[in-house]
Symmetry: C2
Subunit: 408 residues, 2 copies
Amino acid sequence: MALYVQKYGGTSVGSLERIDSVVKRIDRCLASGHHVIVVVSAMAGETDRLIDLGLALGAQGGEREMDMLMSTGEQVSIALLALALKAHGHASRSYLGSQVAIRTDDAHTRARIIDMDTKRLSADLDDGVVPVIAGFQGVGPDGEITTLGRGGSDTTAVAVAYALSADECQIFTDVDGVYTADPRIVPNARRLDAITIEEMQELSSLGSKVLAVRSVEFANKHRVPLRVLSSFVEDDNQNTGTLITHEETVMEQPLVSGVTYSKDEAKITFVGVSDEPGVASDILGPVGDAGIEVDMIVQNTALDGRTDFTFTVRRGDFAQAMQLVREVRDQVGGREVVGDDGIVKLSVVGVGMRSHAGVATTMFKALAQEGINIQMVSTSEIKISVVIAERYLELGLRCVHSAFGLDT
Amino acid sequence: MALYVQKYGGTSVGSLERIDSVVKRIDRCLASGHHVIVVVSAMAGETDRLIDLGLALGAQGGEREMDMLMSTGEQVSIALLALALKAHGHASRSYLGSQVAIRTDDAHTRARIIDMDTKRLSADLDDGVVPVIAGFQGVGPDGEITTLGRGGSDTTAVAVAYALSADECQIFTDVDGVYTADPRIVPNARRLDAITIEEMQELSSLGSKVLAVRSVEFANKHRVPLRVLSSFVEDDNQNTGTLITHEETVMEQPLVSGVTYSKDEAKITFVGVSDEPGVASDILGPVGDAGIEVDMIVQNTALDGRTDFTFTVRRGDFAQAMQLVREVRDQVGGREVVGDDGIVKLSVVGVGMRSHAGVATTMFKALAQEGINIQMVSTSEIKISVVIAERYLELGLRCVHSAFGLDT
């Protein structure tokens, strides 16, 4: 008899029919003698609809009100799912973030979870009640409704699984697991039966949308057992998904577990800046002060006391970052500022590359054979990322996927 | 400098344009140096949409979950209105029922307000912040979300006005006041500048939909100054609405202040029951036990130890009440049970009739002249109600309205 926390995303509760399918899945799990706690997102499209309403009225400075508004999406879902469970003969109770005291800081629209109470949930499990918890939301220091940012429901699920020492946190979504690459672009991508949490964390932060990166960080930190499964596959035996393991040594660990990409990239190059201490911070200081996140940073060895300095930002921040950088051009003695938002970041991830040389070589060779120019490179212990022109995204993904023997 | 509690109903916040119009109205009120606290309903149609979703999933026994579900409607409205007020340069903050501690009993879907906190609201008023409170909802003894039943937002507004000793509770709606009769049926009905709270209470409980009857009862009990106004008339000088007064003696008090009706009526007659003690309770006991509300009850003087016993219920309860009554027929020795759900109740209301005889005569004569048969009569100190066939509703309303000199 195990305790599962099951999280269902927006498409999984997107209609009354989908909700019915969720009920049947929970039903089967309970019939096998297990306990279930459910975490749900807003019905697909609902959060966007609410945000649009708020933006239409002018949401500037109204983060508290936006949280009040957006959090209704999950509230509707929990009530509907609890009603549906009751109609199928299961005792069930829905809970807002505040009602199970998912306490957060006061950073509205991007709050972080501090802790939570387990009293009501434990009592429910003892009484055979299925608790249904609203994802994405918590309660701030003054009793205000907070939300956790996009993908926050995954984080809620992991936090609940941790707090109640669940046997597994199951993330039900519209794909049936984690793939070696996005199957929409790489048709012969394979589903992974298992992946290490470290790899999953890199994949999520490098653009894979299967799991929200914060939820993976949380699961990693607290060693929460995590599994990604499909909410569309009805046969549970066919739906084992991908287990995210906390053991480093998976048998026959491949060199590379997956290839991923991010399109939300733009780069800014500062040509011919003085090669002096303090220049990098002069350039990036104002960008950071404006709350713009900088991802990759590359600076070449200087020639004749001059160097080129390049960094990447999200596309939505591109125009503002260009403006800020132009303002400090005279100060740092740069010749020119060049920007490009027609780029993508392509990354290979694998704990196997730690002990193997030559991963970079394999990747660069594969891209070169297709005539794809590498504009920037960034590496960490278990990943290599390259920036290439956006038009090469699909070609690049497929040739790298193939080069590492990931094709089915 | 006055404090107004302004309540806006579903059509008043039914679209972004309507919300904008509400903001402008509040703006004018603040510009005149007044304080405003706002109470809002769900956007028009939203509560029905949510109820339909819940019913589709099987809401039986799920009152707690239905409250969780329905209360999101008002939550969306308060967030949107607070955002709109902020966008127009006003400090504003939205509040759930729980956040201003509108404490209720635990009767989900029909909870009653026990008390509320005024601390946050008073602090907001001191700080120049416009509080926007979700109507219709409160918080139960265990921190659960409760709702107050249909028309609950009116009750919220009156309760807030009472708790903060507001100078006036203004109910903004889609009509511009209280009329001597429903203008859709009686074209020459007149808007009343003032009406006594006692009359308003009778009108509301007899079918007038301008104000929810519980809000009027609350206002009467606590002497809350109440006014009904239009949210569609832009010129405030043209929008004085109807003041609901707590003084009995309005100058030149007319005999009758208004004529109203209810279509939600059905009658059940028990023919030839024994004229013995206990028969009435034998008949009505099972009906009451089933939670069916009985309105009018008429029993004629017995002839030959037999009498007819008639009562009215809501149309939605008609079939069940008929069934229950048939089951006790043998027990009470009735000859026959006859039902009719093609009836309406037509009522005249006026504190003036207290001191004047002949009101009933005027009413009955007017109906007789049009050949309308009176099936049942019920009177109280300030109202007379008759039951007539539904097809005579419009004709009956107009002739009675005219007979009491209410026509313009």
